[in-house]
Amino acid sequence: MAYVTSVGLVRVDRNYYKSPRDLAFEAASKAIEDVKLDTIDYVIVTSSLTYLQASQFDLAAYIARELGVNVRSAFTVEAGENSGLAGVEVALNLIRSHAAERILLVGVDKLTEYISNRTYKMIQAIYDTESDAVYNVGHAGPMALLMRLYMDRYGVDRETLAHWPVMMHTHGKENPYAMLRFKVTPDKVVNAMPIAEPITLLDAYPLGDGAAAVLLSSEDQGGDHLAKLSEVYSSIGFQSIALRDDPLSFEAVGQIAREAGLNPEDIDVAEIHDSFTITGILLLEELGFAPRGKAAEMVAEGAFTKGGSGPLVNASGGLKARGHPKGATGVYMLAEVAMQLAGTFPGIRADSPRKGIAVGVNAHGSSARLAFLEAL
């Protein structure tokens, strides 16, 4: 295990004034400003789009050098939308194997350097470019296929599904780091501009830029910490929804939920990957937070908001409202869950939570990761 010692977040936004390096610098500086540090063993940067948007290789070394701190080694971890938690997995294992005492994890991505259709082309590469993404499926297409399948199979109507973004916006409104800080109604979601029917603009994460940093320390490091990072579970899934026996099953998520022995009753707080409404709904079900076909209804009943019957899910506003700067998202999640467990999250807070998880996937679930955190 390792400790989450400190975090630094930048509000997700269209940060036209700042480069990826500026954003990373800002988040990293915040994470280490109050910590006495001699050396950082590793700076691990998680990013999936920086090469395409900023034409930069070896980003971690360039970022690390600018921090003005003694850094032993730096490298970048890429796992698409799941890059952030992949970095967490690598960092935890380095600490556990005593290869490192202190690791600064910095997630950063920009999605606004190019006009939108160019960005859509870049981010559709989260899907398999040798099968589904050979076509112009866009960033939302395959998930839209799943959403229609879900609605038809379980008889869940469009309006009911709209309660997910409604909840995300309600949560995000209270989070100072969220990109979208306004409330929406189910009616507004349903009637928003379609981006890939039946997915509307308000079902989808906004295109925004962000960076998040987390300082992880080994057990031997004294001082104050926010939370304990106990374990990261990881799995890979099929290359395409077409290969699954049931296209609606996120087998990689189910796999890590089983491996983790996840019991929804034990979890107080969770940050889960909701690139689109349907992703959030399917993850809730795959994690066992809701029976199949029932997640949307439970969301509408308030089960996953503060005071609900389930864990507090995506108090940050999720990818939907906090935002989804791709490679940075998993680091945001880790930071948010750690702050929840420490009681320092600056938005909607769970009541003295003990256990929390951050769950991320890439695309339709080509990979999945679950980070398990505990309060100190």
């Binding site: 259709n117 499926v137 296929l145 890939a196 029917e197 929804i241």
Partner: protein, 133 residues
């Protein structure tokens, strides 16, 4: 230059050929180096049935790249007659007549053009099936 990227995969995309796993018996498309189901590399190329049923579809408005000519862009999840599923673009679709469960068939269409070299990329799309088998 993306020219060789497309070229080396042209045969399965032109001829709609899948891979049959000789160990577990399952077929997938497009052919991969190992069976997605059991990991076996004991694979054999097999022609796929050209007809199937549209299990799900979407009309994509957030079209990537320079695709205004094709917007809005219909895509579908197709279940072929042998049970193999494919995600692909749909074509010759009248949006108001698009619905789940219709019979579709594989055709070859332009998938795109390489902006730099101007070369044309062809591959399988699906259209509502003509009346005749």
């Amino acid at each position: 230059m993306v020219l060789p990227v497309w070229w080396r995969k042209r045969i399965p995309r032109y001829r709609f050929v899948g891979a049959l796993c000789k160990d577990c018996g399952r077929i997938h498309y497009p052919p991969r180096n190992a069976c997605p189901y059991c990991g076996s590399r004991n694979l054999e190329l097999v022609p796929l049935p050209r007809r199937g049923v549209l299990e799900s579809y979407s009309i994509v408005y957030s079209v990537p790249g320079d695709n205004r000519l094709n917007a809005p862009l219909p895509i579908g999840l197709v279940r072929l007659e042998n049970g193999v599923r494919v995600v692909a673009e749909l074509t010759d679709v009248v949006p108001e007549k698009l619905e789940k469960g219709i019979e579709v068939e594989a055709v070859i269409r332009r998938i795109g053009e390489d902006g730099e070299t101007g070369t044309i990329l062809y591959g399988v799309k699906f259209r509502p099936a003509l009346g005749r088998k």
